[in-house]
Symmetry: D2
Subunit: 110 residues, 4 copies
């Protein structure tokens, strides 16, 4: 993973995106995930450098929260685009809603 | 972050480690954190490649669980080493226990 | 809260329910919430009787999971009924989706 | 469960308590658990009265947070009393610490 590769991230214009995540959110998510990746490396460094455990734990808790926040952004895009579309078209809405709830359950681990 | 740098991770022998995380766990944590780092990059790729949102969410939930597992390993080492030592020496045990509970609360976000 | 009062819980036939929770789920939720209420009382008893802390903690973790499960049932009904309807009618869908994501965030506490 | 029964809750003086939860916390926990019990009944009422789902979800999320807070109080007492004692006596500390971490893992469900 190097800078060049990252600069190739394609964020298609809102109107042309064919995927499920809004172009605007794609960039936002990318930025957040890059920061999270850096935070994970930071935790590795903290472990290597024998940083005080409580500080390591605080940092891990903060990465977890950041990741869950990313999850809710993806979730929202999914409802806005994919679940919404299936309801509007009257095609597979039940399945999409089932899937959505299952995803939330996986997050809550219930 | 490249392979060379990672191979320099020092895992001192159990007896010589002066930090709070057991040498054995340091290596385990390092391995897990490397995998988590890779998973986070995987999520970035999924977002870029417009992978189906539900699959992105499943992956994020899995990274969250992996990170929390890392947290519990650090927590255990902390109790085994640092909290334990403060109790054995009769020095600052209250403070250590307070700190420990606060760390768990930050994880549960209560 | 006594048994008589609880037996008055009205579970209108599926077709006549005007609320957001399906009649079938209303009964299911009621049963689960009654059990959860009993479990909370059980935790009180455990505290009073000085049950071993770890067993108290296990019981609390189990009540938390049961409550979150109830939450996901309500969430699903909400998407199936209320979010869906707003999308079908093309009225206030954005707001409903915003509200839904905010509810999930409150659960995850992010 | 009636008022009379609840008033019988015994909160032994700090010095005489033989259990693992501090007398002071026993009363605090009892008060919190009573409130949580009431909140669970409140959720039942909300479901019966077809309260708007999002409000039901908000209430459930709040009960979950309250329960987890109770969990951290029990956890702290456990470390302060039981884990501490086992370390001081040099008896079964490993087992106690193992048990503690397992309890936190059950809370995080990892």
């Amino acid at each position: 993973m190097d800078a060049t590769q990252n600069s190739q991230v394609v964020a298609p214009a809102e109107g042309t995106a064919h995927g499920y995540i809004k172009a605007k959110d794609k960039e936002l998510l990318h930025k957040r995930l890059r920061r999270i990746e850096g935070q994970v490396r930071g935790v590795q460094r903290m472990v290597d450098e024998e940083t005080y455990c409580i500080d390591v734990l605080t940092q891990i808790a903060s990465v977890v929260a950041a990741l869950e926040k990313v999850g809710t952004i993806v979730l929202k895009d999914h409802v806005e685009h994919c679940v919404r579309e299936s309801i509007e078209k009257g095609e597979g809405a039940e399945e999409k809603i089932e899937e959505l709830t299952a995803a939330v359950e996986r997050f809550l681990r219930v």
